[in-house]
């Protein structure tokens, strides 16, 4: 697959997601249901339940980087711990100080 083809596919995917997002907003449904984007539930700053994650990229005491669709979500903090991990969801516990989205 050459660069041009990849570019076309990326544009098509982006277009699809945008389209699905639009449908979700018209139907007043959560985007995670229709568009398949990651869904995150944050309890205070000590627990995050993340659904729709594509795998752990980095895991240390201070940083957890997780693949979420086309982006990477970075959780910074102290004593971070992965409490449970399943096919597409995980629970992070610890003292979370920042959540960043990297593209």
């Amino acid at each position: 697959m050459n660069k041009a083809q990849r570019g076309i596919e990326k544009r098509q995917e982006k277009g699809n997601i945008r389209g699905l997002n639009k449908i979700a907003s018209v139907l007043q449904l959560p985007a995670a249901v229709i568009a398949g984007v990651a869904h995150m539930e944050v309890s205070g700053n000590h627990e995050v339940v993340l659904e729709g994650c594509g795998g752990i990229i980095e895991y240390t005491d201070d940083v957890v980087r997780v693949k979420t669709g086309k982006s990477i979500t970075k959780f910074s903090g102290k004593n971070l711990e992965i409490k449970c991990i399943q096919i597409d969801s995980l629970i992070i516990q610890g003292f979370i100080t920042a959540i960043e989205f990297q593209f």
């Binding site: 752990i56 895991y59 711990e81 992965i82 991990i85 096919i87």
Partner: protein, 398 residues
């Protein structure tokens, strides 16, 4: 979370370390292949927990990702069981325990009596046992209404009763009847006061009614002393006459004491029988047979009950102790003095029984004769007693 941890403990789980490059990849693959892992901690290595059965399957994944996995700790029931070689015995014990526990919880093991002040708890418990409420009986067979009714019938002093069952314990709550307060003339009767016996009046305390006699008068039995009808200038008032008429009266007694008497003399032999009632079953502790009366020997039984208690709650363990005192029947020839002494004791006893609140014995003259093998005591007592006796006047209401 507690329930989840408990399930994990029952199933058994392994904490293992992941060493080498690609630890994150290993964790990702575990998740992707559907192996649920938890408590992923990053120290010098990755510390990961997984269920006991899935640990073996992770070895292939470890090979693929080039990491080394090693068991750090084993937790849970299967590992605990593994330590014990007599697993079957333990399991059997567990099953027996569960069966026994569920069986015992269907029975009644503790019976309490509450709220009684005059009635004896032990007596109530014994009656309840006769009726059918006893330790060790099935809870389902307890007929609360029937026991309540029968206990009420057995003890007229009980005003109300309630049987409360809580788990394996039954509480008999009772309320005792209280005596009705004495309200003067609550039934509005018209009464005269008459003389209960012959005598000479010494003192009079008339609170209601018209006196018909005065101090010093001699009266005969049945004579009107105080009238319930008070005559006024215009009308007759009907009332309930109340009075204390204290008179000197004469009482005669004749007491016969045979000189040859059968008397029970303690031989000094005391037989103690003990039985332990545990969980509804009675087990004799001593092997003495219950003694029976015969021509020469008689026995008197005394029962003591010792109940095991904790925090005033009866436990299903009771010791019954029967004390049988042995008496020998002997014929005794009383001397004249002994027979007289006995007769005087009997006289005193009879007088004590007959004496009422305001009565007292002023003097007693005694003489005795011995006839046909018995001493006959003749006594004449002068009493000072209340001879007032109410006699109703039936008035027709118009």
């Amino acid at each position: 979370m507690f329930v989840l941890n408990m399930i994990r403990w029952f199933v058994g789980y392994v904490v293992f370390t992941v060493e080498g490059n690609g630890q994150e990849r290993f964790v990702n693959l575990c998740a992707r292949f559907g192996y649920t892992i938890w408590n992923v901690r990053r120290k010098e290595y990755f510390f990961v927990s997984v269920s006991r059965t899935k640990y073996r399957m992770l070895k292939n994944l470890a090979k693929q990702t080039g990491v080394k996995i090693r068991i750090y700790k084993k937790h849970g029931l299967p590992f605990v069981m593994h330590k014990f070689p007599n697993l079957k015995g333990m399991l059997a014990g567990l099953v027996v325990f569960i069966v026994l526990l569920s069986f015992l919880s269907t029975r009644i093991w503790s019976i309490q009596v509450e709220g009684n002040q005059k009635l004896n708890s032990d007596l109530i418990l014994l009656t309840a046992e006769e009726i059918g409420l006893k330790e060790g009986m099935a809870r389902s067979k307890l007929d609360v209404l029937s026991v309540q009714n029968q206990l009420m019938m057995a003890y007229p002093e009980i005003a109300w009763i309630s049987l409360n069952t809580k788990g394996s314990s039954v509480t008999i709550r009772i309320g005792e009847k209280e005596d009705k307060p004495d309200i003067w003339n609550s039934d509005q009767k018209v009464m005269n006061i008459k003389a209960a016996r012959d005598g000479q009046i010494v003192r009079m305390e008339v609170t209601h009614g018209t006196p018909q006699v005065k101090v010093g008068d001699g009266v005969a039995e049945g004579q009107l002393l105080v009238s319930g009808i008070t005559e006024t200038e215009y009308t007759n008032l009907l009332t309930r006459a109340t009075a204390k008429i204290i008179a000197e009266t004469k009482h005669t007694y004749e007491i016969k004491v045979p000189l040859l008497q059968d008397e029970n003399i303690p031989t000094g032999n005391v037989i103690k029988r003990r039985a332990l009632k545990l969980f509804g079953f009675t087990v004799p502790i001593t092997f003495e047979v219950e003694p029976k009366d015969n021509d020469n020997l008689t026995y008197e039984k005394d029962l003591a009950i010792y109940r095991a208690k904790t925090n005033d709650v009866n436990l299903p363990a009771t010791v019954y102790e029967e004390t049988w005192t042995e008496y020998q029947v002997q014929q005794i020839q009383l001397t004249e003095e002994q027979a007289l002494q006995k007769a005087k004791e009997e006289l005193e006893k009879q007088q004590k029984e007959a004496l009422k609140e305001d009565d007292k014995v002023l003097s007693t003259d005694t003489t005795y004769t011995i006839e046909k093998g018995q001493l006959i005591l003749h006594a004449t007592s002068i009493w000072e007693e209340n001879i007032a006796q109410e006699s109703e006047i039936y008035v027709e209401q118009s």
